[in-house]
């Protein structure tokens, strides 16, 4: 079960891959997105985005700043102004 995840900044497409789960630092609390999540849109506060490639693996962290996340039929898209990691 894989979630299609894209991280886009104005300068480039940072990530486009299949992952297990992504934890987003939403403005109203952290939330984990798995495959098959309901359509959803939220703004993001500055903080680490945790990417779990496998179910039990250690997460990879990407610090993002100024952005929002959208979950649609084709997976999760995070638009951020700055991303590093």
């Amino acid at each position: 079960m894989a979630l299609h995840f894209e991280l886009v900044t104005p300068a480039r497409l940072v990530r486009s891959e299949e992952v297990h789960m992504v934890v987003i630092p939403g403005t109203e609390g952290e939330m984990g997105v798995l495959q098959g999540h309901a359509p959803f849109m939220t703004t993001i506060k500055d903080g680490p985005l945790k990417i779990y490639r496998t179910e039990n693996g250690a997460p990879e962290e990407v610090r993002i700043q100024g952005g929002f996340a959208e979950v649609g039929a084709n997976g999760l898209t995070v638009l951020a102004e700055h991303a590093e990691g």
Binding site: V8, T9, P10, A11, R12, T27, F68, G72, T77, E81
Partner: protein
């Protein structure tokens, strides 16, 4: 008639000019490739953002309580013209075309009885606009100390614009830049940026039927997205401008190199002719001298 030495000097000076224009042409070609790649890389973000904006604004009706960036100030009297130029010349008519478009728009707006202010990005074009509208330059943004204007610059410009807007300095803002079509053609373009024009809802098919949850609600998200959308628009314009500048520069320098080649050819022919004439005169003199003996 110019002496041989003078001609030789001129040929040499044109030759060194040609070297410069050729070097500039090659630099522009390399930079153009880079600028095009940057413009390409920025496209997914702009596209996504426009889609989201479209689907959001189709769900919200603009009222007096809507964010002012979307609804406008309610007035339509002071127009701000944001003119994006480059810092360097040697790019043919690139800068003057943008300035010309801005000045035409300024005259049109003034004829409609509106007042016009300018916000200038880049060093070129400042002189022309300040000569035509000496008191209308509100602010200018300096890009001389950065090599390639990037998202950070776009961010700063957008922040300054939003601040000026919130201080009530202007009602409508238009952005002037050069749209990159290909290396030969660049199109001076005018685009309204404030109030933010709602993107066309072309993406209606992407979320047809899906009930999307919003967190926080639509209006708050929209309010958060508007400044970002503005930044992206400015960033896109800066990228287009950069590619256009390099394209225009490449074309202009190609022409200059060719003209210099023609000039060198003409001067060389003239040089050889006068050299031959000098030899002939000398021979005639010697023969005449020998005959006189």
């Amino acid at each position: 008639m110019a002496s041989l030495k003078e001609l030789k000097g001129r040929i040499n000076s044109v030759k060194s000019t040609q070297k410069i224009t050729k070097a500039k042409q090659m630099v522009a070609a390399a930079k153009l490739r880079k600028a095009q790649a940057a413009a390409e890389a920025g496209r997914p973000y702009a596209q996504r953002l426009a889609e989201v904006m479209a689907s959001l604004s189709s769900k919200i009706t603009v009222t007096d309580n809507s964010p002012r960036l979307l609804a406008g100030t309610g007035a339509n009297s002071v127009h701000l013209l944001v003119v994006a130029n480059s810092d360097k010349g040697l790019a043919g008519a690139f800068n003057s075309n943008i300035v010309k478009a801005a000045l035409t728009a300024a005259r049109r707006l003034e004829a409609e009885g509106k007042s016009v202010l300018f916000y200038l990005i880049g060093r070129k074009g400042r002189a022309v606009i300040s000569r035509n509208y000496p008191k209308a330059i509100l602010q200018s943004f300096d890009t001389t100390d950065v090599r390639t204007p990037g998202f950070d610059e776009a961010e700063k410009i957008a922040d300054e614009l939003v601040k000026l807007y919130e201080d009530g300095r202007f009602d409508v803002a238009h952005l002037f830049f050069s749209k990159f079509k290909n290396a030969l053609t660049q199109e001076p373009t005018e685009q309204q940026i404030i109030p933010v024009p709602a993107p066309k809802a072309a993406s209606a098919k992407t979320d047809a039927g899906a009930v999307v949850e919003y967190e926080p609600d639509e209006e708050e998200i929209l309010a958060a997205l508007l400044p970002r959308y503005l930044k992206t628009q400015i960033f896109g314009a800066l990228l287009e401008n950069m590619a256009s500048e390099q394209g225009a520069s490449m074309t202009a320098m190609d022409n200059a190199t060719r003209n210099a080649g023609d000039l060198i050819k003409a001067l060389t022919i003239q040089y050889n002719r006068s050299r031959q004439a000098a030899i002939t005169t000398e021979l005639v003199e010697i023969i005449a001298g020998a005959e006189a003996l």
